[in-house]
């Protein structure tokens, strides 16, 4: 019985409570979970790769079986290089589904030994996305329900603090 390793890829710019929920649930199904921040997405990102990795590492510091890394190039190549056999993706909505479907089929054609598994985002995070969080933060809206405190502070450092009058 060998170790089950899942790679959970994404931009995580920044990580949200929805992403964290997937990570925690993934640890129940897999022996090890590698969160893989995509380097390709750096150009138009708010946070650098290192900032994004550090935020996830700090929030998930207590989970020994979770590892945070970055990757470049074809995801399936990275998965194989890590001796993993599973890509884990969160699904929120139908539009997600179609894109993920195409990607999973394409990856399956390129490397059939890599399997893609999907988890449906938990109810309270079904509408969350990093870009919506950034938009709300940029107008100094209240983001307490969407990201952990550490990420909230990082967003406030970029956009300015949410004033209490604004609640």
């Amino acid at each position: 019985m060998h170790k089950r390793i899942a790679v959970y890829p994404g931009s995580f710019d920044p990580v949200t409570n929805g992403h964290l929920d997937i990570m925690i649930r993934a640890l129940r199904t897999f022996d090890r979970v590698i969160v893989a921040v995509a380097r390709n997405s750096e150009k138009s990102s708010l946070f650098t790769i290192n900032e994004r990795i550090e935020m996830i590492r700090k929030v998930m510091a207590h989970e020994e079986r979770l590892q945070v890394d970055s990757f470049e190039g074809l995801l399936v190549d990275y998965v194989i290089s890590q001796n993993a056999e599973t890509i884990l993706r969160g699904l929120r909505a139908v539009s997600d589904f179609e894109y993920e479907f195409q990607l999973a089929q394409m990856n399956h054609t390129v490397k059939p030994q890599v399997e893609t598994l999907f988890m449906i985002t938990a109810v309270p995070y079904g509408y969350l996305s990093s870009s919506i969080v950034k938009e709300v933060a940029s107008y100094r809206g209240n983001i307490d329900a969407f990201v952990p405190p550490l990420v909230k502070e990082a967003l406030e450092a970029k956009f300015g603090k949410h004033s209490e009058d604004n609640i």
Copy 2:
């Protein structure tokens, strides 16, 4: 490191090549896979529960880590009774997705410890369903590409043989 057990539920009336593909891929990710035929669906089914179970058992006889069973009542209760923690579902299309989404959310609310994971049906089986197979078989159309030989014979026993002129 404990055993990873997944329950793959369905009507399987009858099992198709699409279902079998999911089972084979599931065995790569999980230590044990329990195919669970739903008793609730018996009323309007073509094959009895026992016929459906037997067909899957024969086709998958060589897979020692796969077990075929039937269940009644709430799926999450059955999953827990089997000491499993994962429900595995195949996704074909958007309409599938929405129903599965509702089911997964509902199951998650009732028993949060049970996780639902999804695999996307492989490209050649993306359009397959038991009901379309039954419809084609009922008109004695050629179903060689859709089901294993053993299931084909069972369908011919119900509907009559596919004549060669009909190819």
Copy 3:
């Protein structure tokens, strides 16, 4: 400035927390809300029209501006007979949306003076439906999170009680 009256139609077999949430929010936008239970749907229903009406009336007894009624025939005719000008519908998912879209367009062609407005079901109820609740209740699953206590009792009277061991 005349009174804004909305008709909220449905089968409500039985009413769920998702329906109740729409009713409460509707009362913030409209002066009066008429919950209209469709008589057409009686044949295959679990509860009679009167049982369904009574359950809603009891749960919403404190809301003076909400009225519970039943209707038969074309919804737009009923709406006009009540001097209302708005049909209110809850949307949960894309599949809902398409059916509702067709219905709204058809109603608009038949009676252009009647407007259909949609509310999106609140996050925690996005996966709820009367039929899923009935299915869980029929297996004596825990439905505390899905319906008010009064409806829970009515379901238990039909299907038997949820045993504590089953949690």
Copy 4:
């Protein structure tokens, strides 16, 4: 250069203005159009196969290149028996699309020489369906905008006349 023949299959229970629009547009692209009423759908239908065929024949009597027929069994077998090579289908909405997609893929696997082509239903008929028309007619609602006069009379003969007060 051989004749281009398209088969336009359906239940047509009854034919609507949406169906007629597809037929008229099909005649601009194909040399001959065969409207094929599905015999399989007779059981739960409002009109008999013969009534459905007759209604289409009368409304389209002036179109010499259009022929109305019925078929039983696999559509692709019927198409080949008519020396046609094209199945024509109207698309209204996303839910249509997914079912049609599965059907087209299945037909393509069974008989690759038969091609399925789709037309998008014209804007004013995008929400129309035979079943919605029957529902409105059953409540004696105004259906002038949805079906030709001849079909309206046939529906009134089944359900009773639409009273003018009801407009």
Copy 5:
């Protein structure tokens, strides 16, 4: 009985007949409608905020209960600043629906007292969007059916006149 005020936000770059139809129908349900042009969308827009506001004001000049304004920042904050309690959105298609769903859920989490209501775009405008209108206008295609005369002239001033030979 207090005044019902709805905010109808958008880019309106430029306003189309589809938007105008929503505005006119909104005035039947609400006591006052505030059309709110989003300042955020100015960068890549064809018309300036002021041009967009002026076009809507001129076309809707006869509607005293309709007011045209612009806003910046979080929509929910603007809605509250106007003593309104309702955001009104038009829905055209499923892709619209998913984005609107996410936005409505997010707004509901940030400010639960603000309700989002949806109207389905009327049949003849279901395929219209400002960007498609701009694309047709940029090739000097005929846009008479899509925008009011005043907007047509503004587009011709940007792209050149539609020549009659081109009809």
Copy 6:
């Protein structure tokens, strides 16, 4: 009986096996097929218009009834200028469908005499797109299954060769 001419428009940056499958099937239904490469899409494209045209011409050199051209401006105007009456489009997924639906409706309003017909992409190419092919090629992934050899070479000339170790 006049010639049936279909215009198959697209960016084809570059042409994939999915596009080629549609072309080959189109030649079975139409007397002549004009592949029309959109000039509008040149700015952000990988290959020039001429490179894209030449690749299609070489791969389809044996098909005398297929012609490759480019166009600028409104597609419907181009179609009419070619004495064609049909636009042919391939559909892969629901997201495709919605955009295509809007485009077809818009074109139908501008020039009702031009008909849009859709073919569903064959099963093995349902997940293919030029942009996914370019992404895989940019990481030197194996693209043998997605494009003809000639296009593969052109992509390798841009991005470098796929190393055998990388399979």
